[in-house]
């Protein structure tokens, strides 16, 4: 059975595409799937750092496409998680070095080698985006609850529909307190505008910064709310679409308040 290629995209930069790619990829691999995460941000690669694999990069995706190496040579195996592979981007080329046709050919090869291939799409809707979605079977659009991210996500959704790809929505960095105060859009507001299937909600979590800086995937961190959310998202993508979506809420109650007062909990 051939694997599936899922592009993680957003339109806007800085909404958490790379973190989501690394986290969902790691969660799927922990679940026993053979997973490749592909950094499509040619010239600005980051996924290797987030996964803590930057010192093992020898070949990259451009080398594979141009025939300088084989796919298995470029795919870096993660030593902590079996079945997780990284195909890094080139840091010295620009995005025009690849074409969508070349990516479709690479996609055929990736389909055969892996159960899941997660493409970390660059920001924007130019050549880098075109390359990332060229071979994709599915798409996950990441959107943070702010007006500019919603608008860019909406644009990307239109472009994906135009290429017969039905996207799913992941709302990232939800701050339940700000939503309650009315200072932040709620996930319902985002879903209302974008009007596509919701695949998961991820709340704001300081552990993301720790994960990015240490190179330890978020789903391997203990007590990470975002990591747990990404695990559930991976399960939904991996044949459990009906898994209930947990809404981020502020914790209330006597014991929470008491714990905060005596300094037991944050």
């Amino acid at each position: 059975m051939e694997g599936q290629i899922i592009v993680i995209t957003s339109g806007k930069g800085g909404v958490g595409k790379t973190t989501a790619t690394a986290s969902i990829g790691a969660a799927l691999a922990l679940d026993g799937q053979r997973v490749a995460v592909v950094d499509m941000d040619i010239g600005l690669r980051n996924l290797d750092v987030v996964l803590g694999l930057e010192n093992r990069v020898v070949f990259n995706i451009v080398d594979v496409v141009k025939g300088k190496c084989k796919l298995r040579q470029a795919a870096i195996k993660d030593r902590r998680i079996d079945n997780l592979f990284l195909i890094p981007a080139s840091q010295s080329d620009n995005k025009d070095v690849l074409t969508p046709e070349e990516m479709v050919r690479l996609g055929e090869e990736l389909h055969k080698e892996f159960d899941f291939v997660l493409m970390d799409c660059p920001a924007g809707i130019e050549r880098g985006f075109e390359n990332a979605i060229a071979a994709a079977d599915e798409a996950v659009v990441i959107c943070t609850p702010d007006v500019s991210a919603v608008r860019d996500a909406d644009r990307v959704i239109g472009l994906l529909y135009a290429r017969s790809i039905t996207p799913k929505l992941l709302v990232n960095r939800i701050d339940a307190k700000m939503v309650e105060r009315g200072d932040m859009l709620s996930h319902q507001d985002v879903v209302d505008v974008l009007s596509i299937e919701l695949v998961g909600l991820v709340q704001m979590d300081d552990q993301v910064v720790v994960s990015t800086n240490t190179g330890l995937p978020l789903v391997m961190q203990k007590n990470s709310k975002a990591g747990e959310a990404f695990c559930r998202i991976a399960m939904r993508l991996n044949g459990h679409p009906d898994l209930p979506i947990e809404e981020p809420r502020t914790q209330k109650g006597f014991w929470k308040s008491f714990g905060q007062k005596i300094g037991l909990k944050n």
């Binding site: 608008r151 860019d152 909406d154 644009r155 472009l159």
Partner: protein, 230 residues
């Protein structure tokens, strides 16, 4: 009045639609008129039975009693079904409206309305030659442009330009009216305050400015006597 050949007759009989239209001279005595009616309806024989009869005294008014008496006479003697005076003429205003309505009949008119269902997303632009009807939402960053009116049966959050390039009579209507910017003809409005709750609102040009109002309360077309092609 026509001559029947047996003397002077003071009435004339015509078939009008499904009725028998009898024009008579109301200045003549009633018995003379009854005599003439007997001659006319006697010749009709069974065709008069249950017929609709209109007794027309001509341009003069105030002959209701005469019409009622002659009607009773016809019903009793010839079994006619229904007798009345001529239908009243419409007022000049009403006649004008009806004439205009007929002139602009929509029956054979080709539609100049672009009807779309779905969602206009950010970065997408829809242009209609005349009116545009959107059954769906206009998202922020989306744009709709029309030569006539723009009606959005959904949420309007993007940019809408109606009456382009210079039709200031155009309106922009949305069930949920929260546009980023609207244009009507050459007028532009932005940063419109949100109304409390969701009510159907519409924008129009008044006194060289764009005004937004509750559509159901304002009901801008209520004064039109007949449906008009817009």
């Amino acid at each position: 009045m026509s001559n029947t050949g047996q003397g002077t007759s003071y009435m004339r009989l015509r078939g009008v639609g499904d009725s028998l239209w009898v024009t008579l001279d109301p200045t003549q005595p009633e018995d003379l008129l009854q005599e003439d009616l007997t001659k006319l309806f006697g010749r009709l024989k069974h065709f008069a039975f249950q017929a609709r009869v209109i007794l027309d005294p001509g341009a003069t008014h105030g002959h209701d009693d005469l019409i009622e008496n002659l009607g009773t006479f016809l019903k009793e003697n010839f079994g006619v079904g229904f007798v009345s005076g001529p239908p009243k003429k419409r007022s000049a205003d009403e006649e004008q409206s009806r004439k205009r309505d007929v002139n602009r009949s929509w029956k054979h008119r080709r539609s100049e309305v672009l009807i779309l269902a779905g969602r206009v997303r950010s970065g997408q632009k829809v242009t209609a030659k005349k009116h545009l009807l959107m059954m769906g939402d206009l998202n922020p960053g989306g744009e709709v442009v029309a030569g006539g009116d723009i009606l959005v049966l959904g949420s309007m959050r993007g940019t809408a330009a109606a009456g382009q390039p210079s039709n200031e009579d155009a309106i922009i209507l949305a069930l949920d009216f929260r546009p980023t910017q609207i244009q009507i003809g050459g007028y532009v409005a932005a940063g419109l305050p949100c109304s409390p709750g969701t009510v159907a609102e519409y924008a129009f040009v008044e006194n060289n400015a764009i005004v937004v109002a509750d559509y159901l309360k304002a009901n801008p077309f209520k004064r039109l006597p007949w449906p008009e092609v817009r």
